[in-house]
Each structure stands twice: as C-alpha cells, then as structure tokens.
C-alpha cells in the first residue's frame, strides 16, 4: 500500500484509528463465512466527515474501499476482496435520535442491533429485525445486507423498517435519501440501497421505524419423531394461513449438538423440533397458540411444550441463536447455505438435502427459518482438506440448484457477497445482470467501492473461487 496514503489516513484520523501491520490486518481478513481476503489497511472513522475524507483519499489514490460493521456477515460482503482500505464503522456507534411517540430512531451505522432495542425497551418498543448475531452485528451491516432473523416471518426484514439514509457515494458525494415522514416523493432510493451489499455507498446515518413490543408472547417447542413430520407441520401452518411470529426448525442431530452446549432442555432422542412463537394481545395469544399446537399434534408431534416464563423462553431462544456456535464445536469448519424455497416444497427439499449429504459423505445439519422457507443446511467438513472442500462446494451447489428448480432463491438473508456471485447466473440472465451492473456503475462508476461482489466476473463464470483454509487458524464459529 502506498505509504503516503497511510500517512494521509493517519493524519486524518489519528494513528490509533489506522491499522496496517500484518498481525493487525489478520483480524479483518475474514467474516462469518468461509471466505478470506486481507485489506491493506483498516480505518475507524468517528464522523460522517471522516468517512467523506476517507472516500476522497480512496479516489485520490485509486484504492479499493470496503465498509464493514462487526464482521458477522455470512457471504464475504465486508471483506476487502481486492485489498485496499477497510472502513470499520464500530466507532460510529451513537444513537442520534429516538422519537418514542412517532416510533422512529436515527442511528449511526455502527450501533449494535440489540443496543437499539435495549435503548427503547423502556417505552415498549424495539427494532424488529433480529439476526441471530444481533448482540454483535451492527445496524449498518443489517442495512447493507438486508438482514433477516427468526421474527422477520411476521415483522419483515430490515428493508421493511428503514425509512431514510445518509450515505457517501464512492464519488465523494454526500446524499440523503428517503425521510422520516412516510412516502418520500420520487423513486424509492432507500429501497434500492438497503440490501445493496455495500456496493453503492457507505452508509453514515440510518432512520428506522420502531415497532411496539407485543403485549403477550407464547413460545412453543413441538417435538417430532421424524423430520418429515416437522416439515409437513410447517407447510400446513402456512397453508392454513396461521402466521406465527417465528417458526424455526432444528433437526435431531443439530439439536443434540446444541443441547450439549446450551443445556436448554431440548429432547435428545427426537427427529426434529419446531420452535414456534405467537404474539399479540392477551385476548388472542392463547387461542392462537392452541391453534398452532393443534396443527403440530395433527402431524404427530410427540409433545408440545409451552415456555412457562421469560426464563424458559430465553433459554429456548438461546439454544436457537447459538446453534451455529454449538455446531462449531464438532467440526473444524462448516459451510452454511442460505437457499429459499416455497413453503409447500419444504418436506421434499429437506429429504433431498439429506440425500445429497449421503451422496457426498457429509453430515448435514438443518436449522433454519422454516416459516419463511429459508434453509440453512450446515455441512460439516475440514477446510484444511482440499478434496473435502471441493466436495462441500459440489454438495452445496447441488442443494442450491434444487432450491432454484423449486422456484426458490440462492440467498434469503446472508447476501451474495463473494460467496455466491458465481451462482447469480443460475437466477439471472446475462442481460438482467447487466441491468444490475449498470445500476451499480451509476453510483459506483469506477468500481472503487466493494469491488468484485454480487456479480460474477464475466469470463470465469461458474469457476470456484473459494479456497481451502490454511492449516492453522480456522476461523471461530460465528452465530447466524
């Protein structure tokens, strides 16, 4: 990296806000996915003006620039694929404004997701998107990836809760799009920028809607002898038009791994469980919960437990939200997919995934947002073994191709990033990808911002770029 650029960055931000030694950079070469890419330097802006100045320097030195929150992403979105300056927003973590009466908050991008909910809990409000990494992940990251979570089944994903953004385009233009008031006239630019995976702008301020916490919640654990019974239950709950607040599936194998780690009281001898939640007003929650429990029993649930209090409820959710961490104890590495299918195809798809596991000789765990049809098959493998690595990629490609054949998508909430760019041609024609590339180029004309993400490189289309890990230093398990 240009040493003059480093000096400029240090004089701009102070030496304590610029990292460049190899041992420092190693911490920023990975995220929650299996991807690796090392930046040339890492900077920590504190203000919008800092970000603007960083963008100007990146332009001056024609250096790639990538934004990053907490690094919990699952598709390599916040990795510096072409090196350059990694801009980490962790010090821009102030909640700027809370408007309780109008249910609005304005935050800096580095605010941790659950910190915002905690800050408004006293008023009975919360920020509804709840990725499993919510205790670490930032709202800026959520906005870039359009993150989901278990409760997005009823409450919607991040984009449904974002009203306005302040952002800096890679050309050095500061823009404000959308507004705190609804129905900002003109094109829905926040709708375009949310979920653009950091390829259009660096976001410096976010205005979100806050959501009232439900008055009453019931959390149910439905225990099934077979995985099929559990998936049939999900399809039936959906078809009957019952919308629980959350509907998560854990298969028996995953459950045993989780129980050994979390001790949530999950049964060790079952085929699968559904973690279901219904919420609303006191007058309706009980009957709603009974309705859900009846469908579970109609599909041979062995037992339907209802959490008796907040402690039991939290324990069940702790089991779900720490599941990936638990699985990480069993294997040096795992690969997690994020395919989506219509809910009616859930039973057949899960059967197919397990067949694919057998075919390639892998244990595949299933723990996912069943109510959304958003699968997270977890393939355990040893990334240090190149042949295993290749088989994992082949197995997961087969899973994704099946999802697409079912009318689904390659990613429900983790993003395309650098992990699934080569899969984009399975969903979109070259002409369609070109339209999207032109949208990117309109805001990011030189491609300096987050280069080589989302779109497959035109020539090497379909080539596998993920690499086996070096023998030491496999990344620790993130949560999903």
């Amino acid at each position: 990296m240009d040493s003059q650029l480093l000096r400029d960055l240090k004089s701009l931000l102070g030496p304590e806000a610029v990292l460049h030694r190899p041992e420092e950079l190693m911490l920023y070469e990975y995220d929650g996915s299996v991807e690796i890419a090392r930046p040339n330097c890492v900077v920590f802006p504190r203000t919008t003006a800092d970000v603007l100045a960083i963008v100007k320097l990146a332009n001056q030195y024609q250096t790639p620039l990538v934004g990053r929150g907490a690094g919990t992403g699952l598709s390599g979105g916040a990795l510096a694929r072409k090196g350059g300056i990694l801009t980490v927003f962790s010090r821009m973590n102030r909640i700027l404004e809370i408007d309780i009466e109008n249910h609005r908050a304005t935050v800096q991008p580095g605010v941790v997701n659950s910190d915002l909910s905690a800050a408004v809990a006293h008023a009975g409000l919360h920020f509804a998107p709840d990725p499993s990494s919510q205790k670490a992940c930032t709202i800026g990251g959520n906005v870039s990836e359009n993150s989901g979570g278990p409760h997005t089944l009823a409450y919607g994903v991040t984009t449904n809760h974002v009203l306005a953004l302040e952002a800096i385009l890679p050309t050095g233009e500061l823009i404000r799009i959308g507004s705190s008031a609804l129905d900002s006239p003109g094109y829905d630019l926040p709708g375009l920028f949310v979920g653009s995976e950091g390829t259009l702008a660096l976001i410096t301020e976010i205005t979100v809607k806050l959501t009232r916490l439900p008055e009453a919640v019931k959390t149910l654990l439905a225990i099934f002898e077979t995985l099929d019974d559990a998936t049939e239950t999900v399809a039936d709950i959906t078809a009957r038009g019952i919308t629980p607040a959350a509907c998560e599936l854990l298969d028996g194998w995953t459950l045993r791994a989780v129980e050994a780690y979390v001790h949530a009281g999950f049964p060790l001898d079952c085929g699968a469980v559904l973690l279901l939640e219904v919420d609303g007003i006191a007058e309706t929650v009980q009957s709603h919960a009974e309705e859900v429990a009846d469908v579970c029993r109609a599909h041979h649930a062995r037992e339907v437990r209802v959490a008796r209090d907040a402690r039991e409820r939290d324990l069940l959710w702790k089991g779900r939200k720490n599941a990936f961490g638990a699985v990480g104890r069993l294997s040096p590495t795992y690969y997690v997919q994020d395919g989506v299918i219509p809910r009616t195809k859930l039973p057949a798809t899960i059967r197919r995934i397990n067949e694919i596991g057998v075919k390639y000789g892998f244990q595949i765990g299933n723990i996912f947002h069943a109510g959304d049809g958003n699968l997270h098959p977890l393939i355990l493998f040893d990334a240090r073994d190149e042949s295993q690595f290749r088989r994992v990629v082949a197995a997961s490609d087969e899973i994704i191709q099946y999802c697409i054949a079912m009318g689904g998508s390659i990613t429900g909430e983790h993003g395309v990033g650098m992990e699934k760019d080569r899969l984009m041609p399975l969903l979109f024609t070259e002409a369609e990808l070109d339209v999207m590339r032109r949208v990117r180029d309109a805001f990011n004309p030189q491609g300096l911002l987050n280069p080589e993400k989302i779109f497959p490189s035109k020539k090497g289309c379909g080539e596998i770029h993920v690499r086996p890990l070096p023998l030491a230093g496999a990344p620790s398990a993130p949560s999903v």
Partner: protein, 467 residues
Amino acid sequence: MTSSAISPNVTTRLNEIVGAANVASDFAQLATYEIDRKLPAAAVRPATSEEVAEIVKFAAAEKLALVPTGARTKLGIGYAPTRYDLALDMTRLNKVIAYDPGDLTLSVEAGIPLAKLAQVLAEHRQFLPLALPFSAHTTVGGAIASGVDSPLRQFYGTARDFLLGMEFVTGEGISAKSGGRVVKNVAGYDIHKLMIGALGTLGVITRLNFKTFPTPLERRGYVARFLSAEHALDSCHRFAQSPLTPLSMEIFSPQAADLFASPAAQRVAETPLPKHTFETGEWTVAVTYAGNEKVMARFMAELGHSTNPINIRGLTLFTEETLPPAWNRQREFIPIALASSPATTIVKMSVLPTRMKDALAAARQAAETNDLRWAAMARALGIIYFAILPSDHTDQHRQRVANVTSAMQQACAKLAGHTTIPWCPAEWKSALQVWGPPRQDFPQMQKVKAVFDPQNILSPGRFVGGI
C-alpha cells in the same frame, strides 16, 4: 386536444408485432387514452411480455415516447407526458401465471384487474391488502406503478412490503427481472422497489410476484365521531401507543359526510350508509380490525383509555356484514372527491404522526382564508389527503387553489414533511408544482432514470422533477 402523428411504417411494424386488430389509431379509440388533453398517435395492445419487449425495442429505435396504461383510472397523476406517441395498453396481459396458496405466493401479469384477482384469491380465503380507489377497474400493474396507497397499510404496509419480485422491460427493450417468487430473498438489487410509484418512467411492468395474506376470519370496525380535528387526532395518536394493531385507522373531516351521501358516492357503493356513520359537523375516526367479540371489547376499552369520553359525540360499531357501505366509501374517497367538483385538487401531505394536527390546521386555514370548499381524509400513520373542491375552473379559482397549495407546501416543509398534488385540473399542473419543490436527492433519481431509460422514451416528463 393535441396528438402526435406517426408515419405509416410505424403502424405497419406495430401491426406485425401485435396484429392489426390490436393497434388503434382512430380518434374515438385514441380519445380513451387521453392524458391531460394529449392523445397518442396509436394505442398498442400486446398480449405477451415478448410483444411488449418488441414494441419497446422498436419505439427506442424510432425514438417514440410511450406510456404504459392499464385501466386508465389514474393517468391524471403527475404531469402530462412531454411526448406521447404510443399508449401501451397492458390489459391483454391479464393472466395468473402461478398461484401457490399453500405458500401464500402469487405471480400475475400486470394487466390483470385487481377485482378479478381478488376473486381468484378469495377461493382460498386469501387476499392482497390493496384496498385501492377505483377498485372496480384498476389493474394490478397500474396499482403498483401509480403507488397509490391503501387504508390497510396501517397493518400490512405498502406494496413495497409484500411485492416479492417483478419482470419488466427497460426503455431499451431489455426484458429483465428482480427479486423472486419466494417470501425471503436478497439475491441482487431490489429494482422492483424502484418501479413502485414510478409512473412507468423506468420500465414497463409485465409481471408481478406477491406475498398473499390469509383473509381475517372476522373483520370488525367502528366509527367514533368528534367535535374537532384535535380531539379526533389526539384519540388516534394515543391509540397508536397501545399494543392493539388495527387493520386501518383513518380520520375524516366533517365534509366527508356530505361527500359520502352524494350521488358520486352512491355510484361506488350502492348500499346506503347506516344513519349516524358520518355526521355533518363532526370529525370521524374510522377503524377496522380483525378479531372476535373479545377483541372488540378490548378495542372499546382502549378507545376509552385513549379518549376522554366527553369528546366522543357518537360511536357506531360494525360487523363483517355491516361494514361494507362505510368501508367502500372510505376506500373510494378520492374518486368521490374527484366527482364532487369540476376542479377537484387533491393534495397529499405526509408528516410524522405527531405533526398531523399542525399540517391539517395549516391546510384548513388556507382553504378557509381563500373561501374554498374542502374535505380531508387522513391515515393515522401520517398521511393526509386534502381535497380542495372549487366550484369551477376559472382563473380566479386557480389562483385561490394555488394560494392554498403553496401555503400547504410551506407549512409541510416546516414540519419536515412532503406535499404533492396527485390530482388537479390538467391546465393547473404547471402552476401548482404537483411534485412539490425541487428535491435535493433529484440528481440520484436522474442517475436511476439514465440506467433504465437512457433515451427518455418511457412516460417522459410525468414524474418528480419532470423525469
């Protein structure tokens, strides 16, 4: 009326693409495609998205401007197109492509009427929460391209919250899609969100994928009447802090009572309103919700908590069976207002909920100072439709209406809100600034337009800033 002329070889090519029976060029037919006194030179009715792409490709090559149309109920929104060579009538693309009731997902062609689609969904006790004005005629594509909102947004959100994906044809004739057909998807940019409310300036929508919703088992409602706007808005605002989740919550000004009793209202809802639903001289808060009698009791209790009973002048409860006469009129407030004056001007203000009181007060004061009849409908989330109802088209009235709209724009700007004028007489549009004052994010919108329609042939000039 003005219309552009096209050469005979244009007609020949259009005939080749869609068949001569689906190309109209006689005055009587073209008159039905009028936008603000402008007629196209031809109207083309494609039957497939491939034909749409062919037409747009041809139009791009010939630099012909085209405006996609559906049921033509909302072409009055926005400016007149600066050029209007072809009307692209989408109503033959009217099929349900895929409907998976078990997955609550749906894919339809853009020209399908909303009412026809509602019947298909009703067979499975499902629906799309688009309770839109002109509901008897409007197409799904028109509903999305116009961006008109629905009282049900209180609970279900707007189209951007349940539109899963879209297929469209760009201004260069490229067929493309974004999003998908599953309920959760982050692959690629959400281009379909840009197309919502864009009035066909970015692409011709050919297919739309939606999340559908189960129809509530029991729907109920009530209207509570108040002596003043302040009391009505206060009640709504306090109610909004409760854990209850109404499907809709709207506020109507006293004049709505007259509007809803007018012949124009009878045309949209034949069944007369029950007595004391809307009363002259009283502000009405109209609420619908899903739930049984226990839920009803809770809503009544919450209304009691959020309102000093002394301020409630009257209360009428509705069941699923008795709701429609009031509900249909509420949904059709805009068409009823448009039929209630020869020069109806409908101003839309959006502000934070706590600022609705000030926005509405500024609008009322301006209308009354200028001696203009008015009526208002507001949604509790912070949207106000303020209908100015002058008695005629004269310059004198245009000037008075302009005084009112500019006072509203100023008041709304102070409240950090937005003012637009979705409907007004065609010849008043340039004087009234129908999209509001120039916007600082306009350069970003121009970038988007340049990507999708580099030659500016799609609905040119109709949208914000004259895009």
